[in-house]
Amino acid sequence: MRKVNLVVVGAGPAGLSASIEAAKHGVKALVLDENHKPGGQLFKQIHKFFGSEQQMAGTRGYEIGTKLLNLAKEYGVEIKLNNRVIGIDDHNTLAIIDNHKYSEIRAKKIILCCGATEKPLAFPGWTLPGVMGAGAAQTLVNIHRVVPGEKIIMVGSGNVGLIVTYHLLQAGVKVKAIIDASHKITGYGVHAAKIKRAGIPIILRYTVNRAMGTNQVEKVELIQVDKSFNKIPCTQISFDVDTICLAVGLSPSTELARMIGCKLYYHPKLGGYIPMVNQYMQTTIEDIYAAGDMTGIEEASIAMEEGRLAGLACAISLGYISDNAQSQKALENIRSNLSQLRMGNGKGGIING
């Protein structure tokens, strides 16, 4: 069995930043990712990111992905793609399907950066072809260059819903409306303004009542909701659409953390049950660290800083740098970047759509 010092699960913004930070200090980091391309969700983000210079603000998401990959290469990080981690045991052995072959790797430290999955919304007709996650629609237009449909309705006015709508408009798709059950737009105003000035209606206090169609979505029926999200009878309106995109939130992918017994806690604003982590991004299991969206749904800029924190903490605990005032100062710097990004609110300062 192959033995390594550090395994990072997931090659998204958190995982890449973690491995780069660890490798900077001499730790040979191995990154495993189940996809055939690294970068997580970064390569489908064709818009410019917020943040400060440190988080490469003003740069488009896919360019940040390229920059991270170049850095990873420069520092000798090993990235293995098509590697699905299917389990971890309590001796830090990872069970992996490596390009269709089972294998095992033992690691001294593991950083979990498993990301999140899109939340669904159930309504009569939600299993019809044409109902899809906004992230899936984004992958189709920006990675595969295929439009998901011709007439789309976007459910959810959070940042994901607003940004994906913008990408769909850029791809030439007709977006009929963005709807949200909330009484206000939940994403950033500037994202909403881009959509609004393109003439796309933003309909608040409405939810999907049902999707109709024989072999695929042909029509969507919306219904108004009150302050407690109860449907108000006789308020239905409908749109002819062939695609319903759901941008109703993300849930952290905690399967691996749960399998090894990391303690989870409930934080509704961050996506539900998430692993508890300390100031080093260490979980309640000594050798297991976690960073990025799986420790709470936030921005990519935050995922990168959390990854760096975990990577540096692992380098210290593996003995590659001594645990002295200087290394503690370096950790503190990353934490202060994090609290800047969160405006001192701790976890939960910024919530993504």
């Binding site: 189940e34 699905r84 981690v85 299917i86 389990g87 069970a95 399907i97 269709h100 072959k101 089972y102 999955t117 939340k119 669904p120 919304l121 159930a122 309504f123 009569p124 007709g125 939600w126 299993t127 849930s251 992918s253 905690t254 399967e255 691996l256 749960r258 399998m259 989870l264 409930y266 509704p268 539900g272 049950y273």
Partner: protein, 90 residues
Amino acid sequence: MKEDYVVCRCEEITLQEIKSAIKQGAITLDEIKKYTRAGMGLCQGRICSTIIIEILKEHGYLPQYSAPPHSRIPVRPVKIWEYIGEDQDV
């Protein structure tokens, strides 16, 4: 006719089946999973657990009482031939 649709697509469990499980006293995600098999399919509840948590909430059972169920190997769908190491044309 009561409104009905599939909630767990992997195991084809419907809304009415979930509601009747709640009526029978299954009031957490884990209990509903054991009672109906919702969440025991290929995706291991990655999709339907959010929906079931919402249904429970509508019935007055708060999401914080529905801690995610145990997670077991394999956490991703694996083909048997991959697992046992047999060669197969991919």
